[in-house]
């Protein structure tokens, strides 16, 4: 890399930049929040004045079909629109600007049956994304989950129908794609939608059961606020070419995240506000997306290919980078997998581990597998198997003429609430790998820190035995991340929730 150093040494910041930097002035402080609403108040005065003028001039609609008055948080319906009887005068009241959750961005009108309903859009305050960003986790669909693409109609149905998509969400100009995934038992895991109407105008919308949808980055300066009964976390950035706005919240035990990139900041904030308002009031029609394909096939969560039930699906050179969509630059095999012949795939013997042989079906040797081996944790009370979702792995499959490297970035251990769990009175548990790693290290967090991905970890002791490692447990419930290193194959991290009574 000497040439790289020499090249970079020759690069100097241009004089134009130097001059720009020297002329920089500290930005003025942001105006007090109430001043931002001066123009809104002026607009309100104008609207009220205009409304009064229309009433005075005898506008027929204003008397026979007045716009209804809906408090913030109100859930609209066609019937309510028709039955509306109160004038809409509550866009901005003096009290509206005192609490973040009560501020508004104005609203929008929907006309139907000769009646116009006005929907108030909540104001959202965004933290900036300039501060420390922390990589927290990546999409990692649980083992055994089934995933499939959603049609445009299903996406519309999920969001509450075409009317909701076009009128309430204002997604009409976006090309919509997405997928949904279900746990093995058929229960809903989550859905991900992508809307695009240009290179700088696109969004991601995700919903997951029981937790916030995974994200790669968490910003320290996010603002958390109460909006329409929801605790909404928001952040954003403003660049020269556009802006980004991101919000997340939980509602009815479902987590939502909306991440929008747009060229127009005002439009972006309106779109986010519309989404929050809609989901807060109506939620989603999760039943509209059905389930996995009837023939048992599923769509691979990495490459998107349809895989038949029972078929092994192997990736070559698959790389899931943090903060990047996954992509594949190698081939994939959907050939049926034959466990009986697995020991012969590479002509190598199975690992010589008595416990393994007694308790598990034969598996291909580690160097033939496209992902790290399962780790079994054994104690007097039983055992638990864990698969790694955070690994770098190199494998060779001479029978198929395939091989490659795989990098997978999984959940942060403290977000991995489905981690295999054991409760034991033992002082130590046995860490039993199919293929014994060269090194093992373990860190842990008290389980009181579930969800707190910034919590500091502690080292735990893992002693090297002849065929396995022994982990010394702490008192109480702890989340353990066991990192194994195979010199020739790669590394893998496993997460277990272990409780010593």
């Amino acid at each position: 890399m000497k040439k790289y150093k020499e090249y970079m040494d020759s690069v100097k910041a241009p004089d134009t930049l130097h001059r720009r930097l020297r002329e920089l002035k500290a930005p003025k402080k942001k105006p007090a929040s109430w001043t931002r609403y001066g123009s809104m108040a002026a607009a309100l005065a104008l609207v009220c004045g205009l409304g009064g003028f229309l009433a005075w001039t005898g506008d027929v609609n204003s008397r026979t079909s007045p716009i209804p008055s809906y408090p913030i948080g109100h859930q609209e319906s066609a019937a309510e629109i028709t039955d509306a009887s109160q004038p809409d005068i509550a866009i901005v009241e003096p009290g509206d600007v005192t609490e973040p959750g009560e501020k508004t961005l104005g609203g929008y009108d929907v006309t139907g049956g000769g009646v116009t309903a006005h929907y108030i859009l909540p104001y959202i305050e965004y933290g900036d994304t300039y501060g420390a960003a922390e990589t927290v986790m990546d999409w990692d669909i649980p083992a055994g989950a089934v995933k499939r693409e959603l049609t445009r109609d299903e996406i519309a149905a999920l969001m509450g129908g075409e009317d909701a998509v076009d009128t309430h969400l204002d997604w009409g100009g976006y090309e919509l794609t997405g997928w949904a995934a279900w746990y093995e038992d058929g229960s809903f895991w989550g859905a991900y939608l992508y809307g695009c109407r240009g290179p700088l105008d696109h969004f991601e919308f995700a919903v997951t059961a029981g937790q916030l949808p995974p994200t790669c980055v968490a910003y320290a300066n996010s603002v958390t606020q109460e909006i329409r009964g929801l605790t909404v976390t928001a952040d954003g950035y403003d660049g020269k070419g556009g802006c980004g706005r991101r919000i997340s919240f939980m509602k009815d035990d479902y987590g939502y995240r909306f991440d929008l990139t747009a060229t127009d900041t005002e439009q972006a904030e309106l779109l986010v506000s519309r989404l929050v308002r809609r989901v807060a009031d109506k939620g989603l029609e999760l039943s509209a997306v059905g389930a996995a394909q009837a023939d048992g096939s599923y769509t691979c969560s990495v490459c998107g290919r349809t895989v038949q039930e029972g078929a092994e699906h192997v990736h070559s050179n698959t790389f899931i980078g943090v903060g990047e969509p996954c992509y594949e630059d190698g081939g994939a095999s959907t050939e049926p997998y034959d466990p009986a012949a697995s020991g012969e795939i590479c002509g190598l013997p199975l690992a010589d581990d008595p416990i393994w042989r007694e308790t598990r079906a034969p598996s291909p040797p580690a160097q033939c597998q496209s992902e790290p081996p399962t780790l079994r944790v054994l104690c007097s009370e039983g055992s638990a198997d864990g698969r790694s979702s955070n690994y770098e792995w190199t494998y060779t499959d001479t029978a198929r003429g395939e091989g490659g490297s795989v990098i997978a970035c999984g959940l942060h251990p403290l977000d991995y609430r489905d981690a295999p769990s054991l409760t034991t009175a033992d002082e130590t548990v046995r860490l039993n790998f199919l293929d014994l790693p060269d090194r093992v290290s373990v860190v842990c967090w008290p389980d009181s820190q579930w969800g707190n991905t910034s919590a500091a970890s502690q080292a735990a002791q893992a002693g090297h035995g002849e065929h396995a490692y022994d982990l010394t447990l702490n008192e109480g419930g702890w989340v353990y991340e066991i990192s194994a290193q195979w010199d020739d194959l790669g590394r893998a991290a496993y997460v277990f929730h272990l409780t010593k009574t």
Partner: protein, 158 residues
């Protein structure tokens, strides 16, 4: 020292470092200038208390890397101006190496620059880029695979 003097001092001390890092990550001189300018603007806004020169440099690099991320996030195009057109490589070997580096994903380019040029460890790079050291190591490892023919044996390890 007042803030304008402090800014001037910081500009003189770190502008080339930040510009090179931004250039390495973004591959576009104009975007790199913007990232550096926004970094210093951020400094003026935050006025952080920085312990020493190393801390100062790491803080500024971290903000620069974040600004680059934001630029990359909004940029869905190839760099408007090719780096090698603005700063031509002195010879064919160097040009090939630079082309290979510029072909890497941005997070790998960032790790390569901070490690091979700035001399940071994977832990330090992790702190700057907001990534786990293991992730940085994997970026470096993949970058090394892609650049293997340009690396001499002694330079391969961390």
């Amino acid at each position: 020292m007042d803030h304008s003097n402090r800014l001037e001092n910081l500009v003189n001390k770190h502008e080339h470092t930040l510009y090179r890092a931004a250039l390495a990550i973004l591959g576009d001189p104009q975007d790199a200038e913007d990232a550096v300018q926004e970094t210093y603007l951020r400094y003026l806004e935050k006025r952080p208390e920085l312990r020493d020169s190393d801390h100062e440099k790491a803080w500024l690099l971290k903000v620069t890397a974040n600004r680059c991320k934001s630029i990359l996030r909004t940029r869905r195009r190839h760099p408007a101006v090719e780096l090698l057109d603005v700063y031509p490589a002195p010879d064919t070997d160097c040009r090939e190496l630079m082309e290979a580096i510029l072909a890497l994903p941005a997070n790998q380019r960032a790790a390569v620059h901070l490690h091979y040029y700035e001399g940071y460890t994977s832990e330090e790079i992790g702190a700057i880029l907001g990534q786990r050291p293991g992730t940085v190591r994997s970026h470096l490892s993949r970058a090394r695979d892609a650049l293997r023919r340009y690396l001499t044996e002694g330079e391969e390890g961390e």
